[in-house]
């Protein structure tokens, strides 16, 4: 089976503070279309940095990221055009507090994709319907629960009709009773074939939804494989000790 590769990461390095901090030390991975890739690892292992290098929120200090055939780390690439096709969901939602939910969802499509407001509204309402929040379209973010905010943040990314979705610990800031509603939306997305890269501590989600799990530590991929391989037959000592702490 030779699936289409959507993101190809090669020898990725990211050093902070003029080389004092090595967050990534040569990470290479090919992400296939419709794949759900879950990234796990201890805190500070470079998971967020890896994810943020994929859409260049962090500019890598070495290596390359090829997205849909274009090396987006090359000079003179207009990264804004590629970011539109990579949705990102943050731990702290980062909804725009001065706009209603509907405006949060339609700002990108109207300004960047040049959709009419009516067209953008229609698409946004359809997606809101799917996550069960169509009655909150006129609310402001401050009027929503954490779980609702994160579902809206996912919809905001989806409104740009991306080819990939990047999630950075999307449920870590949520009260436990709200984690499920967000994971359900993500499972739904996986089911319809969205390519997803998910940094998470939700091992249940990883086991159930992931096609592949990456275990990172100290800026490198220590081990990768199917959920069964990673969770049931961990090879390295580092992964075994990590799993013994989180499971």
């Amino acid at each position: 089976m030779s699936a289409e590769i959507i993101i190809s990461v090669k020898d990725l390095e990211k050093h902070f503070n003029a080389g004092a901090v090595h967050a990534l030390n040569g990470v290479s991975v090919d992400i296939e279309k419709s794949e759900v890739l879950v990234v796990i690892g201890p805190s500070g292992s470079g998971k967020s940095t890896f994810l943020r290098c994929l859409n260049l929120l962090e500019r890598p200090t070495g290596g390359s990221v090829v997205f849909e055939g274009t090396d987006i780390t090359a000079p003179r690439v207009n990264i804004n055009l590629y970011r539109r096709r990579m949705g990102m969901v943050f731990q702290h939602f980062n909804l725009f507090p001065h706009m209603t939910v509907l405006k949060n969802l339609t700002l990108g499509p109207t300004e960047l994709l040049k959709k009419s407001q009516a067209e953008a509204d229609k698409k946004a309402m359809q997606l809101l319907e799917r996550v069960g929040l169509s009655d909150r379209a006129d609310a402001y973010p401050s009027q929503l629960s954490g779980g609702q905010k994160q579902r809206i943040a996912i919809v905001r990314a989806l409104c740009m009709e991306p080819d990939v979705m990047l999630f950075d610990e999307p449920t870590s800031a949520l009260d436990p009773e709200m984690v499920g509603e967000v994971l359900d939306v993500m499972k739904e997305l996986a089911k319809v074939g969205m390519t997803m890269v998910v940094v998470t501590h939700e091992m249940g989600f990883a086991r159930e939804v992931a096609d592949r799990v990456l275990f990172m530590d100290e800026g490198v991929i220590v081990e990768q494989g199917t959920p069964e391989e990673i969770f049931d037959h961990p090879q390295s000592e580092r992964l075994q000790s990590f799993l013994s702490k989180v499971l």
């Binding site: 539109r84 725009f96 700002l107």
Partner: protein, 242 residues
Amino acid sequence: MAEAFAKLKESFIFNFIEGARWKYITNGLLVTLKVTFFALLLGIAIGVVVAMIRSSYDQTKDEMQPGFGKTLMTGLNNLARLYLTVIRGTPVVVQLLIGYFVIFVSTTNTVFVASMVFGINSGAYITEIIRGGIMSIDPGQFEAGRSIGFNYIQTMRHIIIPQAFKNVLPSLANEFIALLKETAVCGYIGLMDLTKGGDVIRGRTFSAFMPLIAVALIYLLLVIFFSWLIGKLERRLRSSER
């Protein structure tokens, strides 16, 4: 008591009513408000632009690749810093005199000159206010904008500035009130503002108390009125977000 009151009344009539001298006050008030208003508009325009130059340079200088863009940004940033240093390092009266006698020599429109000078002056202070407002916004807001695909300017315009503006409104209001009072030195270039108007009456009637106290009272009432108005506006803005 009644005698003192009668004296005040007499003085009032003498200073303001006779020779329609109240017109110095009302015309002067109009000039003061005009200069303050135009100066504030110009100051905000300059403040937004310079604040954007300063903070975009600070935020992107490590990532910019060498080339025309970087050279331009570095030049603009240095220019902005020079502007801030010079304006905040010299008295506004001196700037006013330079504006009138050196820069805008060919114009006799003193309202224009004063508006320009005070606008350029307050622009420097408003720059710092807006820069503080931009820095007070959660960096996650910026990242969210960029991750959707907005460029730097678009992110600023749609996401950061509207929020920063709301945060800095109290400081901008203070700047407006400070400006209103600062324009009282406009008389240095012969502009008939409120202060100068009162002073002209003093020169005509040779009585200082009535015209100068009247001028002071008018400033005070204006400040109280605008403070009240701004407080109201702020409460409205705050409630629109909840």
